[in-house]
Symmetry: C2
Subunit: 179 residues, 2 copies
């Protein structure tokens, strides 16, 4: 085991599912996000204040979190390299979407699941801000859910970020139910 | 697309890497965790106040986050089903570890990476508490790192939680570098 206090990019040791965060008609990919609470259902995203999304989030009362399949990784990466300050990314990259129903955000047609979140808290930690949203509406593709009501590993190929511009997905054959 | 305001277990739509959180010689698996800040390096874990780990975290000045390969998913699941209130899980399940160097926590021999974190903030959100740690020491198995210094998808099989007692890992063949 190597041990170091030179922390560097410590977050390249595990894959993170990629969330495409939308505010109004703008989107950006976020690999730093997590469920926060079950009841009430809260979801958190970490956003740098350098981002256009940060400015939009400050002025909006909600946002959406979209999960897209790995086949859309190229599009997702592109949305992270351009700024909404220079015009609509969704239009530029030809991504179809519908306006969210309860918050000012976009639900992408290609998402296999998406959350509409009302902004309920904001906190600054280091070089990022945590935006906490209460999930008020849930969208998902019915085809990806198995008989038990959970995402089916054979029907969805989530986008996982593995650091340094590398994207991959799950291996459904490795699924193990541990009871 | 199905749309519902019955949010239910909304967090079963994507895999989450599993972190084995340790405080003193106690461990528990957490699927809700995320990097928070790059500089300073901050890491966040969400812990229910019902957990023994919560009580320990309240009284400790730090914790560790261990990442174990999917071959250890059975052990990880077991640590989530027993409480440290009933004795040492590490001893019970025969998991070798070393004391962390800078915080009161355990670094498991089977981890492919682990962070030692000084507790810097605590915040309550819904039914969980966010504990924010500053990463002060990083451990990783040298064998898992590629020439560029990043985790090699062929050398590490991270443990991903897919909800409802289901665990799986990545498919290295799907890796795509998007430049």
């Amino acid at each position: 085991m190597k041990t170091t206090d030179q922390i560097g990019k410590f977050y390249y040791f595990f894959p993170q599912s990629v969330a495409l965060v939308s505010v109004r008609d703008n989107v950006m990919p976020a690999a730093w996000h997590t469920p926060i609470s079950s009841q009430p259902p809260l979801y958190g995203i970490l956003i740098s204040p350098k981002r256009h999304t940060y400015d939009l989030l400050r002025g909006a009362d909600g946002f959406a979190v979209n999960f897209l399949p790995v086949s859309r990784a190229g599009f997702i990466a592109q949305t992270g390299r351009t700024s909404g300050r220079e015009g609509s990314k969704l239009e530029r990259f030809g991504a179809a979407y519908k306006p969210a129903q309860k918050v000012p955000a976009a639900i992408l047609d290609d998402s296999y699941a998406a959350y509409e979140c009302e902004k309920v808290a904001v906190a600054e930690y280091g070089d990022h801000f945590l935006f906490v949203g209460r999930i008020v509406l849930l969208h998902y593709q019915e085809g990806i859910v198995n008989a038990a009501g959970f995402a089916d590993e054979n029907k969805v190929a989530p986008t996982l970020y593995f650091g340094k511009d590398r994207y991959l997905t799950i291996d459904p054959k490795t699924l193990r139910e541990i009871t």
